[in-house]
Amino acid sequence: MKVWLTHHRKAGLLALRRLVAAPVNSLLSLLAIGIALALPAGGEMLLANARQLAGTTSAAPQISIFMAANAERQAATEIESRLGKYGGIRQVLLVTREATLARMKTNPGLRDVIEALPANPFPDAFVVTATDERPEAMERLAVEFRQWPKVEHVQLDSAWVRRLDALLKLGRTSVILLGALLGAGLIAISFNIIRMQVLTHRAEIEVSQLLGATDGFIQRPFLYYGVLLGLGGGIVAWLVVGAAALWLRAPLNELLRLYELTVVLRSLDAHDSALLLGFAAGLGWVGAVISLRQHLR
């Protein structure tokens, strides 16, 4: 066991020495791997932030009922009473036209326009939360509400959340696809670098075999080299993504503020960082294994 550990320690150190011995080559290889990995990692970071954004908004499907602009308050009260008795509704919130006007006036961009209007243009409205949140049940309710008197417009407010969710799913699939493609690229890079390493150390390999080295003894430094390449590339990718998050944070916040949204752009969390580094190291190892199978026989 001690001998085995000693062999691994020495192989790891030897791999590190070989990596450091050619600093420019190693740095360029790490940059190539790092940038390739930064693309899916950056995509994952943006998705995580988009999920966070979706989480800050109401994901529970709701129906908004807008009364006609000329409807009296009495009509709204009747609708409210009707909704209260209607089965399948969990919560009803009346948003009066006065409340809507007051809220709009708080928006600096709209205040002047609204104050220039001769009368309150907003209708009374209801925000309805149903007990059955399935899209078809919600749609049935919306169709029903559209038939009611003095109801001008009925809108399913959850639609955009679902669209965002579908977009996130598409994004997630794209990131996985990109990750798989660039992961294959990383394996190819590792394969080629290890091939060059084997060629460089051909004499040493031959002598070691003649002196009684096992395949494991000969392969170990190259495997560690592959893992170090992958890990180093992963660290470069992590740094690139972190720097991009820092760089993009201020302009993104400015953009989101215009939509009254507040999300702090975060880099990869601990889980995703560990996943990135493990994935990168693993791919480096796989590239090394394939290369050694090809070139050490």
């Binding site: 031959e206 002196l211 080295a213």
Partner: protein, 215 residues
């Protein structure tokens, strides 16, 4: 220790490097294999170390048929054999000390003890003062002695040497031959392939001619 049982080695159809060779080397024996260039001396050594497999017959080392060994079993055979190669196979990017250390690293010898072993081996071949030098800084004779130190550092019970005195002047060649005699005297079985007849007095001779054993 070594037994050749009707061994033939054919590289190309119709051309036998070794043909129906049978002989044996006893433990603690010192045998010199003589023959002209191309007689099959190197092939004979390569078969013993299982670098190549024979086409017919069997090569037994310590009772083991080395031609039948699996790839994973080969390292364990080679660790029992010290080999001095015709082209020395030194690692020119490593120091004298590191070259001799390599066989000990392969078997996982403890670092501190390994350093002592390496220095003892270098002392034995007269290179104790050159341990930090690179092989390229050594003379031909010193390089040959370095190759011998690396071959014996594991204290093998069988030492194979392929033309260990080639390209050396007569004085240096005699010096190298003396080292082999010393190992033989401490009980190591020594098998040397060489064209030089007069450097190893007292050793048993095996004469090869075009891959065949001369009586």
């Amino acid at each position: 220790m070594i037994r050749f049982d009707r061994v033939s080695k054919r590289y190309e159809p119709g051309i036998d490097a070794l043909s129906d060779l049978s002989f044996h080397v006893a433990e603690r024996d010192m045998v010199v294999v003589n023959g002209h260039s191309g007689a099959g001396k190197t092939t004979l050594l390569r078969l013993i170390a299982a670098v190549e497999k024979c086409t017919a017959g069997a090569v037994l080392v310590g009772g083991q048929n080395v031609g039948a060994l699996s790839r994973s079993a080969l390292p364990w055979l080679r660790r029992r054999i010290g080999m001095v190669f015709q082209d020395q196979k030194l690692l020119f990017d490593r120091s004298v000390f590191e070259n001799v250390l390599l066989p000990l690293s392969i078997v996982g010898f403890p670092t501190r003890d390994a350093a002592q072993r390496v220095r003892a081996a270098l002392d034995k071949v007269g290179l104790a003062s050159r341990e930090k030098a690179l092989p390229v800084m050594l003379s031909g004779g010193e390089q040959q002695r370095l190759a011998i130190a690396r071959a014996v550092v594991n204290r093998p019970n069988l030492l194979l040497a392929d033309e260990p005195t080639a390209h050396l002047d007569s004085e240096t060649a005699a010096d190298v031959a003396r080292i082999f005699h010393e190992f033989h005297h401490v009980g190591v079985t020594v098998l040397i392939a060489t064209y030089a007849n007069d450097l190893f007095p007292g050793a048993r001779r095996v004469q090869l001619n075009h891959g065949k054993l001369l009586p």
